[in-house]
């Protein structure tokens, strides 16, 4: 009987081709959209981790309260000791100190007079150490557009766009005017080693990257840092593990009343990421729910049209002696065939498109010009094991549901009525 049904599906295009096409398109869109959204979320998490919060971040309790204002006067001191303690206690993460700072960049002319000025935002990261995780996290070497990476004391990198706007080139000297951690004015000369473009609008607008030791000297922060970031070695944010590590670290100081005691926070709990991630998770669920619902309605409609067209066939089958339940079940079996074929094709096509977008990405830089989120301009899809099944099951379910609903009509129709319709 299965072979008989199969032949019918293959030969009758209105029973196979149209529903298979609908399921294929629906599943393809679901697979691709899921991979794309997942890719966007992953990149958002990754970029936020790399440029902002790390997977976990250690700050003083006082600094953490006002972290958005970058209160370097409340920074960690004795960074080396804390760093080696963290490395020993939590070796599953790479630890690195950072100082975030702001200031005024002054570009002098030949006579030492101001030629151009711009407010800047900067990162002081460990670039003296060749094994520093910063090289990978900020992708420094690959981000250099002109010049080289900093090689000697006083070398800095500057956002390529800012360098172009200020008409400065590698090799020139600039002056950073800011304040020390104690509130005194700080004026320090730097040499531009190279220009960089990270592909993150928020970073590429006006950022400078300096070595940690240079900024420590400039800001009078010997052995100090604004924060120490921890990155999982596989560069994947493991939420449960991050929570566990954070809890263990914070438990060591939970009874301390010292405002400068170090506290740890996770990526999820900082910068409103928890809300973002929950929202995106909810959207993913809604998208899949809408897909199943919409597809069920379309396939229900298709099933109804098919059932109407097949009244003759159904009537004759019942007249020959096939039970209504058997007819109904055979339609469900047919829908399973259609669902499996459509879902398989849809998954294949969806994966193919997702793979292309994973490899090449979609540049949304033009739309992100004024964006302040730590988000890459190139969004790439991300295929995971879940991508393989995300569309398949809803595709199958929608086909089955659509047929099940439309097939109820068979039960509601009297046998004699169905039989009469054979003759019309």
């Amino acid at each position: 009987m299965i072979a008989f049904l199969w032949k019918g599906i293959v030969r009758d295009r209105s029973r196979s081709l149209f529903p298979v096409l609908i399921v294929t398109i629906g599943v393809m869109l679901t697979v691709f959209l899921h991979a794309y959204i997942h890719g966007a979320i992953t990149m958002l998490i990754q970029t936020t981790a790399h440029f902002n919060t790390g997977h976990v971040r250690v700050m003083t309790k006082a600094y953490a309260k006002e972290a958005d204002q970058i209160p370097n006067d409340l920074a960690l001191l004795g960074t080396d000791t804390l760093l080696s303690s963290l490395q020993k206690q939590f070796p599953e993460l790479s630890w690195t100190p950072r100082i975030r700072f702001g200031g005024l960049l002054d570009v002098p002319d030949k006579n030492g007079e101001t030629r151009a000025q711009s407010p800047v935002f900067g990162f002081a990261v460990d670039m003296k150490n060749g094994n520093s995780p910063e090289w990978n996290m900020l992708n420094i070497k690959n981000s250099v557009i002109r010049g080289t990476v900093p090689a000697k004391r006083g070398d800095i990198l500057i956002a390529d766009g800012l360098a172009t706007a200020l008409q400065i080139v590698p090799g020139e000297t600039i002056t950073l005017i800011g304040s020390t951690m104690n509130g005194s004015m700080s004026v320090t000369n730097f040499t531009i080693a190279g220009t960089v473009r990270f592909g993150v609008s928020a970073m590429d607008r006006g950022t400078i990257i300096a070595d940690l030791s240079d900024i420590q000297a400039a800001m009078d922060m010997q052995n100090g840092s604004g924060e120490i970031l921890g990155f999982f070695r596989d560069d994947v944010y493991h939420m449960d593990q991050a929570d566990r590590i954070t809890k263990a670290f914070n438990a060591q100081h939970e009874h301390s009343i010292d405002e400068f005691v170090p506290v740890m926070g996770t990526l999820r709990t900082q910068s409103g990421m928890a809300d973002y991630l929950d929202l995106i998770d909810a959207y993913s669920g809604v998208i899949i729910g809408i897909f199943v619902f919409a597809m069920s309605i379309v396939l229900w409609n298709t099933g109804l049209t098919g059932s109407l067209r097949r009244y003759g066939e159904i009537g004759v089958r019942i007249a020959i002696g096939e039970e209504k339940g058997h007819v109904y079940r055979s339609m469900l079996v047919e829908s399973v065939f259609v669902g499996i074929i459509g879902s398989s094709f849809g998954t294949m096509f969806g994966l193919a498109i997702a793979y292309y977008v994973q490899e090449h990405g979609i540049n949304i830089g033009e739309m992100m010009k004024n964006n302040s989120m730590m988000m890459s301009n190139v969004i790439r899809a991300r295929i995971t094991s879940f991508t393989y099944i995300i569309g398949f099951l809803p595709g199958l379910l929608a086909t089955l549901l659509g047929t099940a609903i439309s097939g109820i009509g068979i039960y509601k129709r009297q046998t004699a009525q169905l039989f009469k319709e054979l003759e019309t």
Binding site: F4, K7, G8, A319, G321, A416, F419, L422
Partner: protein
């Protein structure tokens, strides 16, 4: 009415009433009829006389409003959907005015379908299908699609489908209505031969004189009642 062991069908004071808006219409009115094994019987009458309704009740596609219909020992009015299906599947073949072949399947597969429902093993199925197609003279067209057949050939496939499981009863509703005279006679001769060879009971609902001329017994219905029940010498 006395009924012998060879009686396959017996209806007693059969009524069938259909609702028609606020009113009702009586399609069958006190119909009592017995049909013996091997009869070649026709329900004859004008449109609306109740012949198709009676055929549907005998074929367990419909149930009477009152009275009783006994078919092969089964009380039609008491059968569930499942039991009705089983009765049709095991013992009754249908032939329709419009052939109603399944268009996407071949001639062979159309004839094979009732055997699939019965769960007949594959080898036996092949033998029975080819035998049925030989009976109707279409063994050579087994692989053809219904769209490639003439009206007469299509109706012969429908006959093969009805008799492939060797049912006790074949019910045919206006089987020649869509055929020309030559094809009508060929079809009727085929059915007469099958009636003789397999002892299958044939019941026709018809008002076609060509069909009537082949009948052994003619039951005339008018306004839902049996007007005349006559044995006759068929002109074969």
């Amino acid at each position: 009415m006395e009924i012998s062991n060879s009686m396959l069908i017996r209806t007693e004071r059969l009524d069938k009433i259909y609702p028609l808006g606020p009113a009702t219409i009586k399609a069958l009115d006190n119909v009592s009829l017995s049909v013996a094994k091997g009869e070649f019987l026709g329900l004859v009458g004008p449109s609306g006389s109740g012949k198709t309704t009676l055929l549907n009740i005998i074929g367990s596609l419909d149930s009477p409003s009152s009275g009783s219909a006994l078919v092969l020992g089964n009380r039609i009015e008491l059968l569930s959907h499942k039991e009705s299906s089983r009765l049709r599947n095991d013992h009754i073949g249908f032939i329709f005015q419009t052939f109603n072949l399944l268009p996407v399947y071949t001639v062979y597969e159309n004839v094979e379908f009732p055997l699939l429902l019965l769960g007949t093993p594959s080898a036996q199925r092949t033998k029975m299908v080819m035998q049925a197609l030989e009976w109707v003279g279409l063994a050579g067209r087994a692989k053809s699609k219904p769209s490639q057949l003439s009206g007469g050939q299509s109706q012969r496939v429908a006959i093969a489908r009805a008799i492939v499981k060797k049912p006790e009863i074949v019910l045919a509703d206006e089987p020649t209505a869509n055929l020309d005279a030559a094809n009508s006679h060929n079809i009727m001769k085929t059915m007469v031969d099958l009636n003789k060879e397999l002892k299958t009971t044939f019941i026709f609902a018809t008002h076609d004189e060509k069909v009537i001329s082949y009948l052994d017994r003619k039951v005339t219905l008018f306004d839902g009642q049996i007007e005349k029940d006559e044995l006759r010498e068929p002109a074969r």
